[in-house]
Symmetry: C2
Subunit: 215 residues, 2 copies
Amino acid sequence: MALPNTLRLHHSAGSPNSRRVRVFAAEKGLDLAFVSVDLGKGEQRSSEYRRINPRQRVPTLVLEDGTAIREVLAIWRYLEETHPSKPLLGTTPKEQALITMWERQVELEGFAPVMEGVRNSMTALKGRAIAGPYDYEQIPALVERSKLQVANFLSDLDARLEEVRFVAGDRFSAADITAFVTIDFAKAFAVSISEGQRALARWYKEVSGRPSFKA
Amino acid sequence: MALPNTLRLHHSAGSPNSRRVRVFAAEKGLDLAFVSVDLGKGEQRSSEYRRINPRQRVPTLVLEDGTAIREVLAIWRYLEETHPSKPLLGTTPKEQALITMWERQVELEGFAPVMEGVRNSMTALKGRAIAGPYDYEQIPALVERSKLQVANFLSDLDARLEEVRFVAGDRFSAADITAFVTIDFAKAFAVSISEGQRALARWYKEVSGRPSFKA
């Protein structure tokens, strides 16, 4: 389902939040126009980028009429509503709710702790512990806490995946995207799937075979 | 629009996340069956409650068929999809995306910092800095950082409300619910609207007049 290139995704190749959107779009076969934002050079803080995203974060989806949509969940919702085939956020109210619930749990208990650990430990992010327009100092105690949280997250996800094929049930969904991106992101943080976590390893192997995850 | 009392909301009167759902349901005129969870007595950690919510958090919506939906965003989505009149999450894809975006921003930059500040400072929550099945120690440095974040949030929200009537634009939405609950919650945290924040005060006064906020 090729689109005219009128949906522009401002993103960064190394940004895990950008990847959540790229994989989502690839699953749906959408052909977005990509605009790279160089985070290393601080382009997210440039006056040009701030005009489309005053929160100075990636990704941002810019529509044909110039409307700028920030935040992964908001971009996902737009893409799902406008391109409902190959649904990733559910089709019935119950399924929509359960996918929202599982995706949220993965974000709160996995993705956000990895992000917090990374942002509070990287020397390059000194004084920039939270992405956005304000400067906040790093808090070293958060780094150790994040590692505990991520270990608990992996253990809980392994238990969940002993019962179901995918994170939210029997269908691949946005919850799998966040979980997979989290686990890849956590590698940079020296936390990964343990040898005994066989359900998690089975799921990771299956999901990694999807072409969309090259995005 | 009275429902048969088959939707049960497990909640706590003092829980701001529970309030986000109560106000949402009241805006739609939905008649939920409320089941109180006494957080002070630790009922959220009882084996009975853990059967419906293994994450040990409130609120949880239990459907007629026994399906338990955790997480505010997931419960909202269910209620919106099954009772679309008086929409609070938008009706067109663009509006749905923009409400998701603003609600998310309010939660990330306002609600979550207030929660973090409260949980890391209350003596009663020593060793329980994060709600859920695991114990995490409080980190005192987070309390001061939270106060900075909330002050920045209020200042940014005031600027936003100089341009628009409601948080996400010209219609009342779920983004207003999270913003209002955040500001009431922040009072317990000794942070409130400053004298110069006139747009924010105008909005707060207008929203506080809605009967749903008694919920």
